[in-house]
């Protein structure tokens, strides 16, 4: 089987630095290290352009170059004959390489020195294995096709968005074997992502927000690309930075309460991939590990396959929830009469933030939904609701039809489960749910 660029992808993880030989217009050779060789497609690679170097000057004069790479497991060496095509200084390829370079820099003790100026795209004209005593091949990747098939079958069986997202994190845990994972949904109006499900953290972090462009999750969302980091880096160590930021702000009751972002304190490897339904960004799937180099190109492929399947299934389920509400499912809990001490609930109208007693619960659209449900309970004694009725309610200010109401309800239901078990949302059928109020409530509104 002839060597292909695809078969060398393990060489492009940045674990062992690559070298490039170039030649000036007047024929003087030059040789230099390259921090990052990035797999673009079966015919192209991109090299990190970090400094205005002789290499840079040479390839602009004479595009033919030779790259030497080493397989990080076997020590096998390969020679790539390449031809410089262009430099990208923004966009998905650039962002992806920038994040990865931050991890490589951290691994090499070069944080702050390695900065990406551009992604130099080269066409690969030939690949040759260099004679040598390579070690035995590493074991095949963990994410194989058989496992993927099983995962996809389980995802296809999901009956609503909540079970789809739970199944996604379940299959990542078993059979794939990842312990720290989360799903964030995209809020197209507020330009942010909010955590709706997680596994493996002391605090679930449901409701924690990330802005597009912020950290590896935000970059994956903004550029709609998979982003991986193989070694802990302060630059992209957003989980940690955000937690510290949240801590430094202290617990200040007020409008800008935030839910701390979950995350591993000693995270070494991170991967974030976009969940897309066609062109539309639904959310981001994120996983991390304390093991350096845990996520390679093969894992990235596996994540992309799972995420695109989740995007497609979720679009189908969304269509279903937009249709008229279905019959009540069997086994639903009957409404109960509130009892016990009264629950004081405050709403700040400025941003729909809701406090239970003195504790912040939620804000935004999910906050508006909760307030609407509480008022229905107090004013009309109603407990059964439909998605359609919420969608049409102007007090909730759902931004537009693309708004994923179902995801908001999941967020709200989980936040209540964690922080206020006296209020409970129970799905009672397709597009309908019951709002259980177990204690009497006293509502107070703080005008904007």
């Amino acid at each position: 089987m002839p060597l292909t660029v695809n078969s060398l992808r393990r060489c492009f993880e940045g674990a062992v630095p690559a070298v490039i030989a170039t030649c000036s217009r007047d024929g003087i050779p030059n040789v230099s290290y390259i921090s990052e060789v990035h797999y673009v497609d079966p015919k192209h690679v991109a090299l990190s352009f970090q400094f205005f170097s002789k290499t840079r000057q040479n390839v602009l004069e004479n595009p033919r170059a030779t790259v030497g790479v080493i397989h990080p497991d076997t020590g096998a060496q390969y020679r790539l004959a390449v031809r410089y095509l262009r430099t990208e200084t923004s966009g998905p390829l650039f962002e992806c390489m920038k994040a990865k370079l931050a991890g490589i820099a951290s691994h090499a003790g070069m944080t702050g020195v390695f900065q990406l100026r551009g992604a130099d795209v080269y066409r690969v004209e030939s690949v040759t294995e260099i004679y040598g005593a390579a070690l035995e091949s590493p074991p095949p990747p963990e994410v194989d096709v058989t496992i993927l098939r099983e995962c996809m079958a389980r995802l296809s069986a999901a009956h609503d968005l909540a079970s789809l997202l739970d199944t996604l994190l379940d299959v990542l845990a078993d059979p794939i074997g990842l312990r720290h994972t989360m799903v964030l949904m995209h809020d197209p109006s507020g330009e942010r992502l909010y955590t709706v499900a997680s596994r493996g953290y002391a605090e679930s972090g449901v409701g924690a927000e990330v802005h597009p462009g912020e950290g590896i999750i935000g970059v994956a969302a903004q550029a709609r690309i998979p982003v991986r980091i193989s070694h802990a880096t302060s630059e992209f160590g957003y989980g940690r930075a955000m937690r510290e930021d949240a801590q430094s702000r202290g617990i200040t009751a007020g409008l800008e309460e935030r839910i701390p972002f979950p995350g591993l304190p000693e995270s070494q490897s991170q991967i974030a991939v976009p969940i897309l339904a066609g062109e539309r960004l639904l959310g981001v799937l994120y996983a991390e590990s304390e093991t350096p180099g845990r996520f390679g190109y093969d894992e990235e492929d596996g994540f992309m396959v799972l995420a695109s399947h989740v995007g497609a299934v979720s679009a189908l389920l969304e269509d279903e929830t937009r249709s008229p509400a279905g019959d009540e499912a069997p086994g639903v809990h009957p409404p109960v009469t509130p009892a016990g001490a009264a629950l004081r609930v405050r709403r700040y109208a400025a941003n729909d933030s809701i406090f239970i007693g003195e504790d912040y619960l939620i804000k935004g659209v999910a906050g508006a939904i909760l307030w609407r449900l509480l008022r229905s309970h107090v004013e009309d004694g109603r407990c059964d609701h439909t998605n359609r009725e919420l969608r049409l309610d102007r007090s909730i200010r759902l931004p537009d039809l693309s708004e994923n109401l179902e995801a908001r309800l999941i967020l709200l239901a989980r936040r209540l489960e964690e922080r206020c078990p006296a209020l409970r949302i129970e799905k009672t059928g397709r597009g309908r749910f019951r709002f259980h109020v177990l204690r009497p409530v006293v509502l107070a509104e703080i005008p904007a």
């Binding site: 003087i28 050779p29 030059n30 230099s32 290290y33 060496q77 090499a108 003790g109």
Partner: protein
């Protein structure tokens, strides 16, 4: 070419510290180019500096080189990067009188010593001995390329990379 001219001379470019550095536990990456201006590169497995520090000999395994030995024999052009894996300290030497010379017993001894030192440096940053030995090579047939450095550059990653070497 400008940078090259700035320090270009047949005078002694390497001081004792540089000479020790390039004969120490450094990766040796050797490049030349062919008549069509296509560059080639091969990983070397050792280096020796002459007593007067005017000549540098790099050792490579011919089996690992594609056209490099022919290219060097044809045009005498060479660029060699020396970089210590654990520190990233890097320098590049260039020459235009490179030629293939017979391998001596001292060259073979230098390759054996280089393999031990280089593998120890890699071990200090977490690479296992089997991996390091596989990458290093040098157990088979060797070839020696000798040249007079006419230009030397500091190439440690950072803002100073590419500057002519100062003693």
């Amino acid at each position: 070419m400008r940078a090259m001219n700035a320090v270009s001379s047949r005078s002694q470019l390497l001081d004792a510290a540089h000479a020790a550095f390039i004969q120490g536990p450094v990766s040796v990456i050797v490049a030349s180019r062919n008549a069509e201006q296509v560059p080639d590169v091969v990983r070397g497995c050792g280096c020796r500096v002459s007593r007067d520090r005017r000549q540098v000999t790099v050792l490579i395994e011919p089996a690992r080189a594609s056209s490099l030995l022919d290219d060097v024999a044809g045009n005498g052009l060479i660029a060699v990067v020396f970089s210590q894996p654990s520190t990233h300290r890097t320098i590049q030497l260039k020459g235009d009188d490179a030629r293939v010379v017979p391998v001596t017993a001292a060259d073979r001894a230098a390759v054996r010593r280089h393999q031990q030192q280089w593998c120890a440096d890699l071990a200090s940053i977490g690479y296992g001995p089997a991996f390091a030995v596989a990458v290093h090579g040098g157990a088979g047939q060797l070839a020696a390329i000798r040249f007079t450095p006419t230009a030397a550059f500091q190439q440690t990653p950072g803002p100073g990379a590419g500057q002519p070497l100062r003693g």
